[in-house]
């Protein structure tokens, strides 16, 4: 089997699987801070109990995030050593900073948050929750800085031996691509956290138990859900899209399935890219909207794929197109659902409106899919480059690791992560079954 393909599949699989956990924990961390804050302000113990319940879910997901995250840091060296050697002088910086500034913070204060509630004051315990949130969001920032440099390399120069070195520390950290991508990504994590919380609340209400907590989760969940969904579309998604159009026009053409340059380009809502005939089959399109979204005028010309040499087209183009459309389609669904839910909440009818509670419950996996599809859009869109315009993916892998060894470890990860998935389902199901009304000191649980 092809070395390059195996290495790409292994990285894609391990990073996609890994990110199922941080997207929830980064979102939940913020919501737990909110719950703890309300508990402090209103002096309401129910919110503390709710925070304790979510801390259990958080702890399990955090552990899985940690253990599946360790291979990520090492895979740069094991499977992508040429990439590491050439760009370590740039991306080594944010990656090392993540370890030093985020991991220590997160791990220490998570220990305090989970084990220390009786040892420290209520305010200090709120502080511990806050620090866990801060740590997880700092971690996200440095990872995005790394990815943003690969998407849009700035503030570097080339050394005589052909390797890259950061030229301005500020420039690297203030890469505009990083900040807009960070805002869009963290907002996406809050969507996941909010939907999981709202779905759990809907589940309790539909199941007619834990009703008080069900209402509480639903309320916090849909309000956070609505805010994050709207910010996800505008301004973060909008600005991000314009950035891609400006700096990675070939990726944008691929995402939109625009094979030919056009004045007043249409936006394709549905349809299947036909690579052989270079057109969209069964298109459902709205004229001129794409030009308007990118340039603010319906008459502007948008560059199609025919504008670019074939060797600069994103590889696996249909997958890029579908990823982008799945992300955007789901994002629209989230916003609609949350608008309806918050309207009903305002009218005092949400808790009894079953035809809305059911979609909220069933939608909990969708933000995971949307976040994954969003990342696939970003990373497949970057192809065929590892570092956009500088280093091709085909030139980045480890020269001496044979494909047999790559396949061996890929199979190992597939097996190991299958087991993790089963454990995750068993444990999270059990925590939800147990409900938030558990005894205060559950000694059976080491982590909570």
């Amino acid at each position: 089997m092809d070395r390059l393909l195996l290495d790409r599949i292994q990285f894609a699989f391990t990073i996609t699987y890994h990110y199922l956990f941080p997207q929830l924990t980064m979102g939940l961390a913020l919501l737990i801070v909110v719950l703890k804050w309300i508990a402090l302000r209103k002096n309401d113990e129910r919110y503390n109990q709710a925070a304790r319940f979510w801390a259990k879910i958080f702890a399990v997901n955090f552990v899985l995030g940690v253990v599946t995250g360790i291979p990520m840091e090492f895979q740069f060296g094991t499977n992508w050593s040429e990439f590491s050697r050439q760009t370590g002088g740039v991306i080594g910086q944010p990656l090392a900073m993540e370890g030093v500034f985020s991991f220590f913070l997160e791990s220490t204060f998570l220990g305090l948050f989970l084990f220390g509630e009786k040892r420290i004051s209520r305010l200090a315990h709120f502080g511990a929750a806050f620090m866990v949130w801060l740590g997880s969001w700092i971690s996200g920032f440095f990872i995005i800085v790394t990815d943003a440099w690969m998407q849009h390399p700035v503030a570097y120069h080339v050394l005589p031996n052909g390797t890259y070195e950061v030229a301005s520390f500020r420039g690297l950290l203030l890469n505009p691509w990083a900040w807009i991508q960070y805002a869009h990504n963290m907002c996406g994590a809050v969507v996941t956290g909010a939907f999981v919380m709202a779905a759990t609340g809907a589940f309790y209400l539909l199941d007619k138990r834990e009703v008080e907590f069900g209402k509480l989760f639903l309320k916090v969940g849909v309000i956070a859900g609505l805010l994050s969904c709207l910010v996800q579309i505008f301004p973060t998604g909008d600005i991000h899209g314009r950035y891609v159009a400006k700096h990675q026009p070939a990726a944008m053409a691929g995402m939109e399935g625009l094979f030919h340059s056009e004045m007043g380009a249409p936006i394709v809502l549905m349809g299947q890219p036909n690579m052989e005939q270079q057109k969209i089959d069964n298109p459902l399109a709205v004229n001129k909207v794409l030009s308007f979204l990118i340039y603010g005028t319906t008459r502007a010309e948008v560059q199609g794929l025919d504008h670019f040499p074939r060797d600069q087209w994103p590889t696996t183009l249909p997958l890029l197109y579908y990823s982008y459309h799945i992300m955007a389609g789901l994002g629209t669904w989230f916003a609609l659902l949350m608008v309806v839910a918050v309207f009903l909440l305002w009218r005092g009818k949400l808790y009894t409106t079953r035809w809305v509670l059911w979609p909220i419950l069933l939608s909990f996996p969708l933000p995971y899919i949307a976040n994954t599809a969003g990342w696939m859009t970003a990373e497949i869109g970057r192809q065929p480059w590892l570092v956009y315009g500088l280093l091709r993916t085909a030139a980045g892998y480890s020269p001496h690791v044979s494909s047999g060894n790559s396949l061996f470890t890929l199979l190992g990860f597939l097996g190991m992560y299958s087991v993790l998935s089963i454990l995750w389902v068993v444990i999270v199901y059990r925590v939800i079954q147990q409900g938030p009304n558990m005894p205060k000191n559950n000694n059976e649980t080491l982590a909570a």
């Binding site: 399990v60 552990v63 253990v67 599946t68 360790i70 291979p71 840091e73 090492f74 740069f76 060296g77 094991t78 499977n79 050593s81 040429e82 590491s84 050697r85 760009t87 370590g88 002088g89 740039v90 080594g92 910086q93 990656l95 090392a96 900073m97 370890g99 030093v100 500034f101 220590f104 913070l105 791990s107 220490t108 220990g111 305090l112 084990f115 220390g116 509630e117 009786k118 040892r119 390797t163 070195e165 950061v166 520390f169 480890s398 020269p399 001496h400 690791v401 470890t409 190992g412 190991m416 993790l420 454990l423 068993v426 444990i427 059990r430 000191n441 000694n443 059976e444 080491l446 982590a447």
Partner: protein, 349 residues
């Protein structure tokens, strides 16, 4: 000069990892020998519950810092040690699950399964770490393109084309297994109460002569495996303080344990581990990864060091970041100080 600073920063972070995660690895190795009941097991696990994850962060932060400061070393060594590194990653995954998931389901079978995973992964990790360090000391068959790929074993001999495992690296694995088990026993003697404290102390006492013997064997073995390792010492005779400190630490462990000063004997064991690692690093410097092929140069600090600008800027944020990290650790260890007992746990009302 700045290269030396980063060499010792990375070495220091990895030493901090071995000392800190070392005791919870040791706890994992000893669990089946020490804990006789569920009550015991819970007490043992509680002693590392709030801190093990933070301890492990030293490996991640150290690895990230190594990547940042020495990209060539990171690229060459991590791809060259491909298979053992992947196995270490899998063991780290299993170990985290073993600790954190065991008490999620109230079932004898579930708990026993995760305890087994925890013991097995902790023991294998200790062996792998020892073998890894021995591989770096012995050297690897670096090619002219600065890369290599090591098979798991060849003929079990050191030499021009060794494997990951040979007599010397296996010895390194055994040293690490014994040293970390001993380290973990001292930690448990410090953290536990009652029977467990007595048993942990007894195990430390029994492991001690083994540790002394294997330490004494490992020193000449290192000189045989890499004759060059004495060069630094001959050049800077002041380094001979390292073996002296090893001896001092060993004696201190024995005396303090006999006096039942469990915290101090644990700290002496930390000193022992740290000094052993410093000694190994001093023997390497200025080499990062020795070449077993005399025709190919070693990978040195000067060759692998990142550009001048990043490593100077790095010094500023690193100092600040590690200051914060030390602060967090101080708070955490202080809050969870003292003895732990099982059903009380840390958060009993």
């Amino acid at each position: 000069m700045i290269g030396a600073v980063w060499f010792w920063i990375v070495a220091g972070m990895l030493a901090a990892y071995v000392v800190l995660d070392g005791f919870d690895l040791g706890v994992g190795i000893l669990l089946p020998f020490l804990a006789r009941s569920e009550y015991d097991r819970r007490q043992v696990l509680r002693s590392i519950g709030p801190v093990w994850d933070g301890n492990e962060v030293w490996l991640l932060a150290g690895g990230g810092t190594l990547f940042f400061a020495f990209p060539l070393l990171y690229a060459s060594a991590f791809s060259g040690f491909y298979l053992p590194l992947m196995i270490v990653l899998w063991l780290l995954i299993l170990r985290g699950l073993g600790i954190e998931l065991r008490s999620q389901v109230e079932s004898e079978v579930w708990r026993s399964f995760f305890d087994g995973i925890f013991v097995l992964s902790s023991s294998l990790l200790a062996i792998f770490y020892g073998a890894a360090l021995a591989n770096v000391i012995r050297g690897v068959p670096i090619g002219t393109d600065r890369y290599f790929f090591l098979p798991l074993w060849t003929n079990w001999q050191t030499g021009v084309s060794p494997g990951i495992l040979d007599w010397y690296t296996v010895l390194g694995g055994v040293v690490a297994l014994v040293a970390l088990a001993h380290h973990g026993a001292l930690w448990l003697a410090y953290k536990c109460q009652g029977d467990l404290e007595v048993r942990a102390s007894k195990i430390a006492k029994r492991l001690f002569p083994v540790l002394v013997a294997i330490t004494l064997v490992s020193l000449p073995a290192t000189v045989i495996a890499r004759p060059n390792s004495l060069a630094s010492y001959q050049q800077h005779p002041v380094l001979f303080i390292v073996p002296v400190l090893v001896l001092v630490a060993l004696i201190a462990i024995a005396i303090l344990r006999a006096r039942k000063q469990s915290l101090y004997s644990f700290l002496a064991s930390s000193l022992y581990l740290a000094v052993m690692l410093v000694g190994a690093a001093a023997g390497l410097y200025p080499v990062l990864l020795p070449s077993t092929n005399p025709a190919v140069k070693d990978i040195t600090v000067a060759e692998a060091l990142s550009g001048s600008y990043p490593i100077h800027v790095g010094l500023i944020w690193w100092t600040f970041g590690i200051f914060l990290a030390v602060l967090y650790f101080t708070v955490s260890y202080w809050l969870f100080r003292g003895k732990v007992s099982s059903d009380a746990g840390y958060d009993h009302e």
